[in-house]
Amino acid sequence: MPTLWVYAEVRGDQLTPLTLEMLTCAAEIGRAEVLLFGPAPADAVATLGAYGAAKVYRCADAVFADYLVLPAAELLASLMAQHQPDAVLFGTTYLGRDLASTLSARLDCGALTDVAGLATTPDGFEATIPAVGGSYQNRATLVNPGTKLMLVRPKSFEARQRGGSAEVDEVAAPVSEELRRIHVTETVAQKAEGPSLEDATIVVSGGRGLKDGANYHLVRDLAELLGGAPGATRAIVDAGWVPYSLQVGQTGKTVKPTVYIACGISGAIQHLAGMKGSKTVIAINTDADAPIFKDADFGVVGDLFKVLPQLIEEVRKRK
């Protein structure tokens, strides 16, 4: 049975949902072990055990929070050399991408990104990867000897408790000064109101069809009325209309709401990659040929400056 390691991440005093999703996946196909580096909640080890971790390599040192990438990569590389796991799973997050890319170069082993399904084979692993915004599906593998590195796509596996508890292996933090080169001096959280984009069951997103940042309030108003979260395409984030934290897409957040309402969004690959898993998609666009309509369960070809205010009015009336 293969041993799969999961690199755990903590946000806002909690293990991230993606950590538990990856852990569930790992425990289903092999022996799951977790790397828990840096400050973590008191019940983290118990939670990890309940979701299938047989073992937790724990190092609570603050060095991992204060200095990016290098201390974690160093400790991971030395643990990998010692224990030779078959795979290490990272979340497709800012930190996950930094660690996977650094380690793949250091260990000369490559890495798979955007893994949405994983199975074992006689010679290793086979991953399912949505490509080109989900319009293709790849089956891919890594052929390097030794440990395989993979970045896992959020919301691809359902986190499930299996019961059980994890043995803890306390490991020492690396101490070399050389590793303390990327120094975090300040962390700023920009809190939004309402449900978070990743957790919302309804997401209303706006794209370039809004024509101007000042019109984004239409998206925000509808999201608020429906008890959902507002989102955005990379184009309007790049244009500075809304903050990065609202971006849905390959670079931004992956969402899987019950209802996704795309307003003035053409359906670029970058955007589809982040919302294709939505249960029901509604699209409003002036261009009948916009790719978003191919993925829409219900679409209105029309001017969103007429359709959206009418929709907002209707929702108000019927509530």
Partner: protein, 259 residues
């Protein structure tokens, strides 16, 4: 300040990217290409830093011979010179082989700072910059929304899931910038004329000391076993707004019991 900016030629944004089922690669022949708009943001950062601190920007690109036009655009925008890594042996390279080629070209000279986009606008894997940083031993400063230099210290605002972090490191460093953090300049007429006379250094894999077994499809650790069109959604109901579009969507939401 000696700055290298990595830039890639990608299919233009209006092109629907397709994958050749036989080669399992993105179809590039007969498809119009442009300088990656995200890489233009990285270049703009480099040009601004040079304006403030002196020095020069070298643009480095790995791609087919046809990428020359896009490299010329980077020169017209203000890069001093270019390095074009171009060799059929590199076709089919995975992320690590690409990173090895870029790092080998960067290592031939003495750069203080390498700037990349967080991910190219065609494949979006986002692994190459981190790999290049590691191969060079440069400090990776990733997902930057803002960059400042003071002496030999680079400080960035690094994007996080719910805000940002202020992060700094000593040079040499590799910075990846989020696309859209600036408005890349248009090449001026003078820039376009001047670009024709600027140096474009060409390297093959052999020039970079990369054995054929380590690059291209032969050296790839990442193997695609099969690629197939994803099952598409059942065709939904698409209507043209005749003054009742909003009402129809409300009806649809009601049928889903959302309202």
């Amino acid at each position: 300040m000696n700055i290298a900016v990595c830039a890639k030629s990608v299919p233009t944004s209006s092109v629907v990217i397709t994958i050749d089922p036989d080669t399992q690669r993105v179809v590039r022949d007969g498809v119009s290409h442009e300088l990656d708009p995200a890489a233009e943001c990285a270049l703009e950062v480099g040009l601004q830093l040079v304006e403030q601190h002196g020095g020069s920007v070298t643009v480095i690109s790995m791609g087919k011979a046809s990428a020359a036009d896009d490299i010329r655009k980077a020169l017209a925008m203000g890069a001093e010179r270019a390095i074009h890594i171009c060799d059929d042996a590199l076709a089919g390279s995975d992320t690590l082989a690409t990173a090895k080629a870029l790092a080998a070209a960067i290592k031939k000279e003495s750069f203080d700072l390498v700037i990349c986009t967080t991910e190219a606008t065609d494949t979006y894997s986002g692994l190459v910059p981190g790999q290049v940083a590691e191969l060079l031993g440069f400090a990776p400063l990733t997902f930057a929304r803002e960059i400042a230099l003071e002496g030999r210290t680079a400080t960035i605002h690094r994007q996080t899931e719910d805000g940002y972090q202020v992060v700094h490191a000593e040079l040499p460093a590799l910075v990846t910038v989020m696309s859209g953090i600036n408005e890349p300049r248009y090449p001026s007429l003078k820039g376009i004329m001047g670009a024709k006379r600027k140096e474009v250094l060409r390297y093959t894999a052999a020039d970079l000391g990369l054995p054929a077994t380590e690059v291209g499809a032969a050296g790839a650790r990442e193997r695609v076993l099969e690629i197939a069109p994803a099952p598409s959604r059942a065709q939904g109901r698409i209507v043209t707004d005749e003054g009742d579009g909003g009402v129809l969507i409300a009806d649809f939401l009601a049928s889903l019991k959302v309202i």
